[in-house]
């Protein structure tokens, strides 16, 4: 029996029972939903009229029973974060993270474009859950989405919880939660140390809930339909659906909504299958893990299953690499990109990432030998864990997984015989070169954003 947090049966339309929950409107109409269509499809958000300062424990418990985990890459249990923020003594703040800094992922952009009101509902529900009197929606600068979301906000009945849209410099590390907190506090979107967590001390010392926009969209549906409904899809440990971006050598690359626990082979099939056999898949965004194929074809898409094979789910994005392409060369390109996106705050990242990128490039072009490879392994161990944020660790994990998954190719490359595919760079979703964050760190400052007042 579904128990909504208002302890009354939901009086709106029936919940979506098919595999499409967030994308239900898109699947039916092949376009985004406005406010009218949104309320017709999902009904009203059943929130109490007044926001309570201590938050809403019933709603938090509902989210806990649902087992919702963050969809921004870290997979943190959402209810636990809500509880931490609600327990704070200073007035809290909700930050909805729609920046999607990883170029391999497109799902947040798609969600914001076609179902903005689900995200806006989620922000409102989250603010009620933690008792936050204020909310902010972060998007990349100069993105047409900012205009689209401002228009969507205008369509809604006015409440004090309508979020302010804040534009963020479009850098990879600028969309980390500590970066957004720093942006709103100091004006510069540089990542900071992991402790204290934003939920304990965030913007100007206030408890701050930073949640991915997709997480908030799921929250908006859980508030309506309850935990049993949410758990109707997915697995026990990984309940619900998730949006996944499928890129690379598939016939129909794009964003799909799938049940958590769906095997890799099924996701590739959903994306139209492949025209040629695949060598591997990069899972978890650009700073993710390579998974060898066909070995990993049955791997279910859950964080637990991924960890069992030495990977992690991260942000749900896949890049399918065909057999003719060189995984070492692709990884070298990705490493150069990640190196260029360092915030330049910590030595091991600022110097270590370009060094390992050069190492992998040398290996990819057949200009390295075994001692270079050993030096690269040592560098990976030295760099790991010594930055303030997770950026260098992601790059290290990518490099390590490339050396392991493409070990056969590695031997050939180190013998001076790079594979033919190394000469033909496989297209990767890496943006063209743009100004690095260093040495001019002003590229990270809020002054570059257009028309936004200082937030409180």
């Amino acid at each position: 029996m579904t128990t909504s947090f208002t302890s009354a049966p939901y009086l709106g339309p029936n919940p979506p029972n098919g595999p499409h929950r967030l994308l239900a409107g898109w699947v039916q109409h092949r376009r985004g939903s406005d406010w009218t269509e949104h309320t017709a499809r999902y009904g009203p958000l059943p929130l109490p009229r007044r926001l309570r300062r201590g938050g809403n424990q019933q709603l938090i418990q509902l989210v806990e029973r649902s087992g919702l985990r963050g969809r921004g890459g870290a997979g943190f249990p959402t209810a636990r974060k809500l509880a931490e923020v609600a327990a704070g003594r200073k007035p809290s703040l909700v930050i909805a993270n729609g920046c999607e800094g990883d170029p391999a992922s497109n799902k947040d952009r798609v969600l914001l474009r076609i179902a903005p009101h689900l995200v806006l509902d989620g922000i409102e529900a989250a603010a009620h859950a933690v008792g936050a009197p204020q909310a902010v929606l972060c998007l990349h600068q100069n993105d047409p989405l900012a205009q689209h979301l401002r228009a969507a906000i205008q369509q809604r009945p006015h409440t004090p919880l309508l979020p302010e849209v804040v534009e963020v410099p479009p850098h990879y590390v600028a969309s980390a939660d500590s970066s957004l907190v720093n942006l709103l506090t100091h004006g510069t979107a540089r990542p900071g140390p992991r402790r204290p967590r934003p939920s304990e001390r965030g913007v100007r010392g206030r408890p701050t809930l930073v949640d991915n926009v997709e997480t908030l969209a799921h929250l908006a549906l859980i508030a309506r339909y309850g935990d049993a409904w949410f758990r109707g899809r997915g697995t026990h440990d990984a309940p619900g659906t998730t949006l996944v971006t499928i890129n690379g050598a598939v016939q129909s690359p794009g964003v799909y909504e799938i049940d958590l626990g769906t095997p890799l082979s099924e996701m590739l099939r959903l994306a139209g299958g492949t025209a040629q056999p695949l060598r591997a898949v990069l899972l978890g965004g650009l700073a993710g893990h390579w998974l060898a194929l066909p070995d990993m074809r049955a791997l279910p898409l859950t964080d637990q299953a991924c960890r069992q094979v030495g990977a992690s789910l991260g942000i749900a994005a896949l890049i399918a690499l065909p057999i003719g392409a060189c995984g070492l060369a692709a990884s070298a390109r990705i490493l150069h990109y990640l190196a260029s996106e360092s915030a330049g705050q910590c030595g091991p990242c600022m110097f270590g990432l370009p060094a390992i990128a050069d190492d992998l490039s040398a290996i990819a072009t057949g200009q390295a030998n075994h001692s270079h490879a050993q030096r690269l392994w040592r560098r990976l161990q030295v760099i790991s864990g010594r930055g303030a944020c997770a950026h260098p660790d992601g790059a290290v994990n990518l490099a390590a997984s490339a050396l392991r998954v493409f070990a056969d190719d590695l031997d050939a490359h180190l013998a001076g015989q790079p594979c033919p595919g190394a000469a033909y760079p496989f297209p990767l979703p890496i943006p063209p070169d743009r100004p690095s964050l260093r040495p001019d760190r002003s590229l990270l400052t809020k002054e570059m954003s257009h028309g936004n007042r200082q937030s409180a």
Binding site: P193, C346, G347, P348, R379, Q381, V382, G385, R386, A388
Partner: protein
């Protein structure tokens, strides 16, 4: 596929620990000179704290190293 870190975390949670703020650190290298038993420098000049727990006989030197850091990046903390 976790990378084994260069640091040793086995002493975590007991006694006195050295912590480094990687953002403040600007690779002056004084700490490694004053406390070579516990701090080495990577190839780019940044400190690697090889054991987070400081043995009792080195606490005085550790304190000196933390005080000598021009960026105040190195700190000695007693764990709870």
């Amino acid at each position: 596929m976790a990378i084994d870190k260069a640091r040793d975390d086995s002493g975590r949670g007991r006694g006195t620990q050295l912590t480094l703020n990687p953002i403040s650190c600007h690779a002056h290298g004084i700490c490694a000179e004053l406390l070579p038993e516990v701090i080495t420098l990577d190839e780019w000049g940044y400190p690697i704290i090889t054991s987070s727990r400081v043995p009792a006989e080195l606490i005085k030197d550790a304190r000196r190293a933390a005080a000598a850091c021009p960026s105040l990046a190195l700190k000695l903390v007693k764990s709870r």
